[in-house]
């Protein structure tokens, strides 16, 4: 059990690393839209988990309200970046696409960090936000019948 608790960041880090190689390995061929949204959500969540583990080892006193505004701003930013029109710009360029994925990881981390800085364990709230957004986007964000 202990070992597992210590090993999860490593295991998750490995998964994230493999995922980040995706665009580089498959080139411009992006996964289907739904899967792609879930992939972005996975990166956001992973970033958040790392941040929560990081902050938990260095507990900070209660934070400024601005941390919560940051959480909300980051959530909105992640949605804007999930617009297929926006990330479509970088999809064709494997390196840029990978950078965007690193961006999702960083946003996830920052969101988790900001939430934990506002109050311990509030990273839970951030993760909830990101997971729900990810699942809902996967059900049809940016797809639909062609517009006349």
């Amino acid at each position: 059990m202990r070992a597992l608790q210590r090993a999860w960041p490593l295991a998750l880090g490995l998964l994230v690393a493999i995922d980040l190689l995706g665009p580089l390995a498959f080139g411009a061929a992006a996964p289907p839209l739904a899967l792609h949204h879930l992939e972005h959500a996975f990166l956001l969540v992973s970033g958040g988990l790392f941040a929560m583990a990081y902050v938990r080892r260095r507990p900070k006193p209660y934070g400024d309200p601005l941390w919560i505004l940051a959480v909300i701003g980051l959530g909105t930013l992640s949605l804007v970046l999930m617009l297929p029109d926006v990330y479509g710009i970088v999809d064709a360029e494997p390196v840029l696409h990978t950078l965007l994925h690193v961006g999702f990881l960083v946003i996830g981390w920052l969101g988790g960090y900001a939430a934990e800085r506002y109050a311990p364990k509030l990273g839970f709230g951030w993760q909830l936000l990101v997971i729900v957004m990810g699942v809902i986007t996967a059900t049809g964000f940016g797809s639909g019948p062609p517009v006349a």
Binding site: P65, I68, L79, A119, G125
Partner: protein, 496 residues
């Protein structure tokens, strides 16, 4: 109420920095919110008068007013119930006044944006802004965008509230699961000091979680609509967005009731001298609501034949499962609290009990409508505004008024004047609601500037009742105001 156990030292509150005590902050928000409700209620009366041909309105104006009334009322009621719950829990959970300021300001900004979009731009696809209507009307494109930004701001304000609530619960009880009182079921979660969350905190925990889920859905919705507004090439699947619209719209309106339940758990005992106590039944009922409330929205889509059958059936089942347990424990618990107690009758207790009745009646009427065979007949008739006005206006709003009366201070027993005001208000309220139900039974469609008979004659009668209701409401608000001034001069705060 259990004393909070601090996991860590609470931060110094910045209330003084912004020159606001929690009491003043809440008092100001209540004044603004109740004033808004009055104005939006007048708009409701104007709509009825127009439907009854007592006054003439261009259809475009009618639909714009309908949009403003719906969006404005829902946002204001969310604001008012949130502020009430905040006030009753702020000490216990060390909630932060500065956070409340952020969330009030965001919601008010959202309301201002929506009002400008409607009154200046004429935006009028109703508060549910179903795609593609917002992009097809006669109103200018800027008003569409501005309205969506308004919705986004209301969502942000509610998210701030939920985040701080969650932070406070975790800070005081160690985890959100303890806030939900799951430790009554799961021994492993039990706290060494044996502290269990009281029912008002259970309700708050459910609201914080489901509130964040709702806002997450709402933000996907609004970002998709704004993207389409910005670049019409951005594709939107109409069925997808309709589901999402009601996921957000239905759930946020529904949550106002659960927020109110938290307030009831706290305040009703003040009148009866007995408390609600957490037990396994409360914890379980609220856990059920927590899981099923976000799945009830499909009952808005029964008429959409392309909707997947599992969503239709699941939505119907979830509606029942989500509503019944928490409603039954709250209503039954409240009656037990009152039964043979030394109930002290004050305007607040009258309003709370009347509100519970409205919640019950409206809830039953809503369940009928959410039952597929009934829906086939009642869908889109005045039955719909009948049931939701019963539990929003005749339920949630009465809880807000009851809370305000409690907040203002109720040390004196009410005199005859107060009784007269209450009678006026309730007469108007019941008459207005009955006309809605009558229209529903007669199959008069909702959301129409011009109604087939017997719509107009019912609307005429309803307009009269609305006038009585609004006179009662104004009198009640003036009485609160006068009482607030007098109590403040005597140095008396809330309670009785």
């Amino acid at each position: 109420m259990a004393k909070p156990v601090r996991v860590q030292e609470p931060v110094a509150l910045h209330a003084a920095d912004i020159g606001l005590t929690p009491r003043r902050l809440v008092g100001m928000t209540l004044s603004v919110g109740l004033g808004l409700i009055f104005v939006l209620g007048m708009i409701g009366g104007i709509m009825k008068a127009a439907q009854g041909n007592l006054i003439q309105l261009q259809p475009g104006t009618f639909y714009a007013l309908l949009t403003l009334h719906g969006a404005g009322m829902i946002s204001t009621v969310v604001l008012l119930t949130a502020v009430a719950l905040w006030y009753v829990l702020h000490d216990h959970l060390s909630l932060r006044p500065d956070m409340l300021v952020f969330s009030v300001v965001a919601i008010v900004w959202g309301l201002v944006a929506a009002t400008v979009a409607v009154l200046v731009g004429g935006f009028g696809p109703a508060w549910t802004f179903l795609y593609p209507l917002p992009f097809m009307g006669t109103w200018p494109s800027w008003s569409t965008g501005l309205f969506f930004f308004g919705v986004l701001f209301v969502g942000v304000g509610f998210a701030i509230f939920c985040f701080d609530l969650m932070a406070g619960i975790i800070r005081t009880y160690g985890s959100i699961w303890n806030g939900l009182a799951w430790d009554t079921w799961i021994p492993r979660l039990r706290r060494p000091d044996g502290k269990v969350a009281p029912p008002s905190v259970i309700a708050a925990s459910m609201v914080a979680i489901d509130g964040l889920i709702t806002v997450a859905a709402g933000s996907v919705l609004v970002v998709a609509l704004l993207a389409h507004w910005f670049s019409p090439k951005f594709p939107i699947d109409p069925l997808w967005i309709k589901n999402l619209t009601f996921f957000f719209g239905h759930t946020i309106a529904n949550l106002a009731i659960y927020v109110s339940a938290g307030v009831i758990y706290y305040i009703l005992p003040k009148y009866t001298g007995r408390a609600f106590h957490t037990n396994k039944v409360y914890a379980l009922s609220w856990a059920i609501s927590l899981f099923f409330v976000p799945w009830a929205w499909p009952h808005h889509l029964y008429m959409d034949f392309v909707q997947a059958p599992w969503l239709q059936v699941g939505g119907e089942a979830s509606t029942y499962i989500a509503t019944i347990p928490a409603t039954v424990v709250t209503i039954f618990g409240s009656l037990l609290l009152v039964y043979r107690s030394d109930m002290r009758w004050r305007p607040g207790s009258t309003l709370f009990l009347a509100g519970i009745l409205g919640w019950l009646v409206g809830g039953v009427a809503a369940m009928l409508d959410a039952t597929i065979p009934f829906n086939a007949v009642l869908h889109n008739t005045l039955w719909v505004p009948a049931h939701f006005h019963t539990y929003l206006l005749g339920g949630v709003f009465l809880f807000v008024l009851g809370f305000t009366s409690y907040f203002v201070g109720e040390r004196q027993t009410p005199g005859r004047l107060v009784k007269a005001i209450e009678w006026t208000f309730f007469t108007g309220l019941v008459g207005f609601l009955l006309m809605f139900y009558a229209g529903g039974i007669e199959g008069v469609p909702r959301r129409e500037a011009v109604q087939p008979p017997p719509g107009p004659i019912l609307a005429d009668i309803a307009t009269g009742f609305v006038a009585i209701l609004l006179v009662g409401l104004v009198a009640m608000l003036i009485e609160f105001w006068v009482r607030a001034k007098r109590n403040a001069a005597n140095g008396e705060a809330e309670g009785l």
